[in-house]
Symmetry: C2
Subunit: 210 residues, 2 copies
């Protein structure tokens, strides 16, 4: 299983936001919606081997981890608004959750209390990879990517404000490597597309060799 | 200047659609909105060297060509809804336009009557490249991409229903080449991300050589 996490530094943890104005009313949950689209949607189907963990740190009842599991997801459409509606339902379910509790809101979507640190501590991920501009290029590390295919890698991305210093220290302390997907600085959802394409290509070669 | 066109086979040519239900009410203008995001948005800025031509063939007053010019675009936000609102304004301006007329709706956005054929006939593009699954891989044609850098290439993509037979015949008759961006079949907006990343990479190498 491949895991992706996007940290929403301002993303509301309350369902009190407007679907009619996601950028202005939700702490940029629109950024997270686009990451959901990128992580799961193929032209005809859903990537079943992905789990996407959204870290929400904004107004309401923070922090929360909202996990979308491609193996069980239903009702996922490509448009932002319907994805935001699924997030809204999950946030409502998550209000006042005790630490350690986990609640399922709709098929394939769960919510629990926690931040990036908790996600990593509980997840057993290996390796952990921080997608960051101006790092080592993802092209040219094919044998590394081939190793990911049989593991449970976690790919960490920041929202439009990026990861903070404490996040970066946490990742450094854990020995996370840093990888870049291209020469331009891109939005998280665009980075996810490039990341998954790279893995698709290595997986295809790997199957052809086998 | 690089040109991208996305054909919206059902996309409304009337502004009578609901921003609250783009997938259900607009002939999938949401697909076009995501293509706009992919074509122009960098993490901090807009790709100024792109023109995106949306071909709209759906209900209202078809066909229409809606052109977004990165060199002059303003008010472009990453969320779908605000982009759909810009398209709505353009469609209103475009109602009843005479053939040959062109109207500017908001900065960087113009609308005129026409279909894919008209776009190509008037555009003077060279080369024309049809992005299609299971075609020649975009990786490994670096010298071709390097040639694009000084030309005015047009990249043609279909919406969720793809190009029709007449479109494909038109492209074949014009000697358009077919290129694929990876091993999976992806949505148009995801293909645009992969295409531009490939061009970014070649452009960077080219600058480093120079």
């Amino acid at each position: 299983m491949k895991h992706i996490t996007v940290v929403g530094n301002l993303a509301f943890t309350s369902p009190q936001f407007s679907l009619d104005d996601l950028p202005g009313s939700s702490g940029r949950i629109d950024v997270l919606c686009r990451s959901v689209n990128s992580a799961f949607l193929l032209s005809h189907g859903i990537r079943r081997d992905i789990q996407l963990h959204l870290i929400l740190r904004g107004k309401g009842d923070p922090p929360k981890i909202l996990t979308l599991d491609g193996g069980h997801l239903k009702h996922l459409n490509p448009d932002e608004r319907s994805t935001a509606a699924l997030i809204k339902i999950a946030l409502k379910e998550g209000l006042g959750l005790d630490s350690g509790d986990i609640r399922r809101s709709t098929p394939g979507i769960t919510i629990r209390r926690g931040d990036l640190y908790d996600l990593i501590e509980e997840g057993g991920f290996d390796p952990i990879i921080y997608l960051q501009e101006a790092s080592r290029d993802i092209r040219g590390i094919e044998s590394e990517i081939e190793e990911w295919l049989d593991k449970d890698p976690l790919f960490v991305l920041g929202d439009h404000t990026g990861l903070n210093r404490a996040d970066e220290k946490l990742l450094d302390d854990l020995g996370a490597s840093r990888i870049s997907v291209g020469p331009r600085v891109l939005h998280a959802d665009h980075c996810i597309i490039l990341l998954l394409n790279e893995i698709d290509r290595v997986a295809l070669k790997f199957r052809e060799k086998a």
